[in-house]
Amino acid sequence: MAAGTGMVTAAALVTDMLKLLGEERVFHKDVDLKTYTYDSSFVSQINDFTPEVVVMPTSTEEVSRIMRYADEHGVAVTPRGAGSGQTGGSVAVRGGIVMDLSAWNDIVEVDEVNMQVVVRPGVVHADLNNHIASYGLYFPPDPGSSEWATIGGMVANNASGLRAVKYGNTGQYVLGLEVVMPDGQVIRTGGLKSKALKSVSGLNLTGLFLASEGTLGVITEVRLKVWPKPPSRAIVVAYFDRLEDAAQSVLEVFKAGILPSGIEILDDGAIRSVNLFKPQLKLPEVEAAIFFEVNGSKAATADEGRQIEEIAKKRAGSVEMATDPKRMKELWTGRQAIGAASARAKPNAARIFAGEDVCFPMSKVPEALRRIKEIGREHDTMVVIYGHIGDGNMHTAPIIDPLKPEEVEAAQRVAEAIHRLALEIGGATTGEHGVGFVRAAFMEEEHGAALEVMRRIKDCMDPKGIMNPGKIWAGEE
């Protein structure tokens, strides 16, 4: 079992890391270590996950040297990007080294003709898209945390976001990876020199690292396929008096043969929260709003936008179509902010990240929405619902006073019940945020015998169990 500093003392570990990286990129004082004990997960706020040391490598060679050291001494290593995850995935639940890769943010290559980019793990999603926009390119997956989430973290969690309904998740764009293995060996997946957009040569090692959450190795470089940036875009927002009508309208849009680039739902609490955060938006405060985003040529965008408007009008109280860039930006950034802004739905409360990423079959979404609201009522806990209704991926935010233990306990019961609901009706406990520390307990029930195969793969690649221990596999290593 690998835990914490393995066979070295904390003091020796710090000294050795200082020798490897120098004073500026090694943090070992209490005041710095305490800022690496958390991500967005509530579990990391109520536990003390203080690492012994934090390192900030900025080269493959440095990562490799750190991993060779960790392997030799049995020290746990937890890779970390912006720490924007919601599962405890980037906190050192077993102590040891936190490897902060967010400062390693070089865009190594933009290959305009072959439509691909090579980036280091700390590149921020929005920075990448801003950079490649001048080449007429863009990287479609769009997490709500676009402005601060790193590409390394997105790959390690196979993240997706607001445009997954049309463009899928991060993994669909990863052509190859440079990975430092737990023993320090450096490998390249997807072919050493390959710039091919397709390859079925050998086992899909690239796929193995997607959603591996730092448990198999450290991702140090990513080759991404990127796409031409669509010239036009429109957002249709439909406001519904009944939550179920909102879900039905989504199905009807699909039935009309339209594939929007984003379909997002906001329930009444989410609408209120966004209005409080961005008062200029002035969204009607109804039971649910759906944001449909379409993109493509100007003609196609206008036509699909109009069609969606007509379909939504059958059930919606009002519909707004936005093509003005300023209004679209306001709407989209308002939607992106809900994750944290949902706390505003209730005075003197906070949002906690727990049970927040369930994914349902499309046919079951209306039922799931109704039952989530019921779960909230049963436990006397306000639950704000928002998320990617176009692919069934719902974010459910318990809004509580975290200083009141009884409200915390109720919220934890809500989270448990929502995860169980997902499993009961044929969904997934996590659509894009990952397992991390918080969902490890559901893995056996969700995967059955397949979990054992995952475990064997983990043992094979990380025999000493030093890579991000305590994640995905509950109570192991």
């Binding site: 991500d39 601060w148 944290a340 003197n348 949002r351 006073d401």
Partner: protein, 425 residues
């Protein structure tokens, strides 16, 4: 550690969900990159202090003082965390727990609260500059051997020349033409000592726009520097004195040409006193009458156009305490556009902090200089001959940055260009 500076730590800190959005826009984090230099990191440290997980220490104070208080994180925060106010309150707590460093204490309690000493200090500064000592130190590289902070301060300071602003303007300046309002001009310390010409121009512009201007003589420092260093007691005392002095002046409005002063008088004073007390009531009354000079000209008097052309390409830098603390952004631009002959050029990231933040530029000179680099890049990209801004410490910082680049661009207050259009020079 529960309640301080009218702020309940536990209640405010619980709002932070640690999403990390504040990493995006924090100028300091952008330079330092470690999580403890991010607003989220600092909030986590205050939480650790509040729960007893960390004890007060110099290292903790260092992390909390390595913040510009530029409010970018607070304005952007989806959860509504008032991070800058939390940091100020934590500084107050730490100042008491640790005791402020001697130099800061002498500066804050001594000079800034006592105008007499203030002027003496200014005279010393002038002597240093006039005597040529600055040039000698620079040329011989002796300046490199001065204490680090003194060296930084020496490099930043403008060429302070002549009498302070207070001695250049009359106690009561009559309105030119029909008198519309009687206004109190709150002459702040930095304008008074470092940019006295701005005081003359502000008074002239107000007078020209129908105001009888009372330059209130017995006002003290607004208290912002004290708050920034956690000395809330002194700030409260200064607030009391200023409330009294301004009430005695009996004007319709209180006008400031310093973004920090107007933010402190108009926004912060209310939070310094207990709710329901007469002092808080007075602070609220004052808040309704406090205006930044550009806002006042645009919203209250209207701008009297000047007769003379001021041929210049001009860009504008938004001070944090004006744009984020008071949401005053368009009005200074309107003043500039109203000046005949001015060609206004918007710069990229105009509201990004310049790195000055009062004494931050001295106490954290290296970080401040890095933040300034990006600002100067944005200024230079506009190829403007003049940079306008509404804050004396921003003026000092921008002038320093441009000087270091060898640029000849001038840094002025927007009302100075308007005054030039009145005077014709």
């Amino acid at each position: 550690m529960e309640v301080t500076y009218q702020l309940d730590f536990a209640q405010e800190l619980k709002k932070c969900v640690r999403c990390g959005k504040c990493r995006t826009s924090c100028p300091v984090f952008h330079e330092l990159r470690g999580e403890s230099a991010s607003p989220r990191g600092r909030l986590a440290l205050v939480k650790a202090l509040q729960t007893g997980d960390l004890e007060p220490s110099e290292e903790l104070a260092d992390r909390l003082y390595t913040c510009l208080l530029c409010k970018t994180c607070a304005v952007d925060c989806p959860s509504g965390v008032i991070s800058d106010e939390i940091f100020v309150a934590a500084r107050e707590y730490l100042a008491e727990a640790l005791g402020q460093p001697l130099m800061q204490r002498a500066l804050l309690r001594g000079f800034l609260t006592r105008p007499g000493l203030h002027s003496s200090a200014s005279s010393l500064m002038r002597l240093y500059q006039k005597s040529g000592a600055a040039a000698v130190l620079d040329k011989t590289h002796l300046i490199e051997h001065l204490p680090e902070k003194a060296e930084a301060a020496a490099r930043l300071l403008p060429d302070v020349a002549g009498r302070p602003g207070r001695k250049r303007v009359r106690e009561v300046t009559p309105a030119q033409g029909e008198k519309k309002y009687r206004v109190s001009y709150f002459l702040g310390c930095a304008t008074n000592l470092l940019y006295p010409q701005v005081a003359e121009d502000t008074v002239e512009v107000l007078s020209r726009n129908g105001c009888e201007v009372v330059t209130v003589d017995d006002v003290k420092c607004c208290g912002m520097p004290h708050l920034a260093y956690g000395d809330v007691d002194t700030a409260r005392e200064l607030a009391r004195e200023n409330l009294r002095a301004l009430a005695d002046a009996g004007s319709d409005y209180v006008i400031s040409d310093c973004a920090s002063c107007s933010a402190t008088l108009g926004e912060t004073y209310q939070h310094l006193f207990d709710p329901g007390t007469p002092e808080q009531a007075r602070a609220k009354e004052l808040a309704d009458t406090v205006y930044d000079v550009s806002r006042f000209l645009v919203e209250v008097t209207g701008i009297e156009p000047g007769e003379h052309q001021v041929e210049a390409t001009v860009t504008y830098h938004d001070p944090c305490h004006l744009s984020r603390a008071q949401k005053v952004t368009e009005q200074p631009r309107e003043v500039l556009r109203a000046v005949p002959g001015v060609e206004f050029r918007e710069m990229a990231e105009a509201d990004r902090c310049c790195g000055s933040a009062g004494s931050f530029s001295v106490m954290h000179h290296d970080i401040s200089a890095k933040i300034l680099e990006r600002k100067i890049d944005n200024v230079e990209a506009t190829q403007s001959e003049v940079v306008a801004t509404s804050c004396p410490t921003c003026t000092m910082q921008l002038s320093f940055g441009l000087r270091e680049r060898g640029s000849k661009a001038d840094v002025v207050h927007p009302v100075q260009l308007l005054a030039r259009s009145y005077r014709g020079k």
